[in-house]
């Protein structure tokens, strides 16, 4: 199976690999997936007092498409408010990276990771977690 140029680009030069201090109240951490399924994503956001995401980091165990999806997600998150970030849809990632149908689950996982990180931040700061309206596959 051939990968798209954008997947290869993100895979070869992943953006924002790293770790933020998960104990900080200004950091939200989302850890999604499972080792048995061959995909685990950890996505972290640093949020300022205006609820704007100033930094985002990821680490991913998974195939090239999973790594590319999470790398792209960190790029998109930076500079967004947490409310706008909540609106990122997995199909946007599918489109941007030209993922084939068999790799759509990678984008779903990235969306899950974004939402989990935001909810972690919200709960830490006394806000309610926002339930995802999407049914999981």
């Amino acid at each position: 199976m051939a990968y798209s140029d954008k997947v290869i680009d993100h895979y070869t030069n992943p953006r924002n690999v790293g770790t933020l201090d998960k104990s900080s109240s200004k950091v939200g951490t989302g850890l999604v997936g499972a080792p048995e399924c061959g995909d685990v994503m950890r996505l972290q956001i640093q949020v300022d007092d205006n609820n704007i995401i100033t930094d985002a980091k990821f680490k991913t165990f998974g195939c090239g498409s999973a790594i590319a999806s999470s790398s792209l997600a960190t790029e998109w998150l930076k500079g967004k408010t947490i409310d706008d970030a909540m609106k990122i849809d997995n199909m946007d990632i599918v489109e941007e990276l030209a993922l084939p149908p068999v790799k759509i689950h990678c984008s779903v996982l990235a969306e899950d990771a974004i939402k989990a990180a935001i909810n972690d931040f919200r709960v830490k700061n006394g806000l309610e977690a926002i339930a995802s309206e999407k049914a999981h596959h």
């Binding site: 990968y3 998974g62 068999v102």
Partner: protein, 403 residues
């Protein structure tokens, strides 16, 4: 050294130029139908097939009358299992095989189950070998066939063929083996090993794709299979269809070369494989899958924990290898062979199969070692699991959301 490097010789092998040379005349100059008995074109083709049949028989210690040419090992597996079931079903309906067989055997067994066969799928031990006591315990008076592979395609493990054959015969069953990965790589002898039916193919031994054979024993006992392909009654009525003369000539030549070079080649390849394996095991948290003492000389299947196999193959784009991770398939299920060894799904997802071959050089192996080490290290830097492992977090203590 040319890139990419081919280290997937269990999937298929490049054709040896000597094989190609032997085949070429049979496409256009000596193009006759081996079944044409009334002119020179047919005689020439028939003579070539006869010669090749001897070459093919010799590599497994059979007589040429015991070789049925097929389109490959898959067809030979189908013919053996379906053909034995149909021929002997009045004697009994029980077949024994293992969970680590190739799909050509497993799915054929599933097929005959629908026709009334009862199939036992023996589990394997953690090293990939079957337990002979369990085999014996599974044998019944109804058992007509035991079908257990010679060498495994994913991990290279070689089953105790002679002991298996002895158990099968003790209970009056036939013993069939899919020897696709073993023939030409290690000595296989149907008489000494006690094999009644044996499937193999040309393209795993530097011959052409599209041709294989089923060995069917003629003496002690005389084994019969019901044809699965009806027509002109070729191959002593067991497999109709015009013979693939160039393919058969190539198959014969490939067997002849393997006979001559097997011993030295096995030594060379196992030395290279051992070097590759030892170097890669220097990486922390890397493990060999399958028994290493009973293993084909050219295979090493290694799991690199906390790195996903498909992602790893993408990093090693200059190496053609294969992975037990099934991230590319729609099922997302990792290798059933590795799971049969009791490997957890995450280790199965982290596995890479290195399959060396006749044209693999030491320089290529050195390159493969360097690229694999670099890629594993790089991907571990990206892996949250590796970070957690390094922090001493027990990954089993985390409640993962299965998706």
């Amino acid at each position: 050294m040319n890139l990419p490097i081919y280290l997937d010789n269990n999937a298929t092998t490049p054709m040896d130029p000597r094989v190609l040379d032997a085949m070429l005349p049979y496409f256009n100059q000596k193009f006759g139908n081996a079944a044409s008995r009334n002119h020179a074109f047919g005689w020439v083709a028939e003579e070539a097939v006869d010669y090749a049949r001897e070459q093919v028989a010799k590599i497994i210690g059979a007589s040429e009358k015991e070789i049925i040419f097929t389109s490959g090992a898959t067809e030979a597996d189908n013919l053996a299992i379906k053909g034995v079931f149909e021929m002997y079903k009045d004697k009994g309906n029980h077949i024994i095989t293992t969970t680590t067989e190739h799909k050509a055997v497993l799915d054929t067994c599933k097929h005959v189950e629908k026709l009334g066969a009862r199939v036992t799928y023996l589990p394997v031990q953690a090293d990939g070998l079957i337990n002979l006591q369990e085999l014996e315990a599974a044998m019944t008076g109804e058992t007509i066939l035991v079908s257990i592979m010679y060498g495994n395609n994913e991990i290279g493990v070689i089953q105790p063929i002679r002991e298996i054959a002895a158990i099968a015969h003790k209970y009056g069953a036939l013993f069939m083996t899919d020897a696709t990965q073993a023939v030409g790589k290690i000595p296989v002898d149907v008489i000494a090993d006690g094999i009644d039916l044996l499937a193999f193919t040309a393209h795993k031994i530097y011959g052409p794709k599209g041709v294989g054979a089923l060995y069917v024993r003629r003496k002690g006992p005389r084994v019969k299979v019901t044809a699965q392909m009806d027509g002109g009654g070729h191959e002593r009525g067991m497999r109709s269809g015009t013979l693939n003369v160039p393919g058969i000539v190539g198959f014969g030549k490939a067997c002849e070369i393997c006979m001559q070079e097997m011993e030295s080649e096995a030594k060379r390849l196992s030395a290279l494989r051992d070097k590759l394996q030892a170097s890669l095991l220097e990486l922390e948290e890397s493990y060999v899958n399958g028994n290493v003492a009973h293993r084909l000389p050219h295979v090493a299947n290694i799991s690199f924990k906390y790195v996903e196999g498909e992602g790893l193959m993408m990093a090693m784009k200059d190496l053609a290898v294969s992975s037990g991770s099934a991230c590319t398939s729609a099922s997302l299920e990792p290798s059933y062979v590795l799971k049969s060894l009791g490997l957890s799904d995450d280790l199965a997802h982290s596995s890479i199969r290195f399959g060396l071959g006749r044209f693999t050089t030491e320089q290529e192996v050195d390159y493969a070692i360097a690229v694999t080490k670099k890629s594993v290290t790089h991907l571990r830097e990206l892996s949250p699991l590796w970070e957690m492992f390094k922090e001493g977090i027990d990954l089993d203590s985390i409640e993962w959301a299965e998706h």
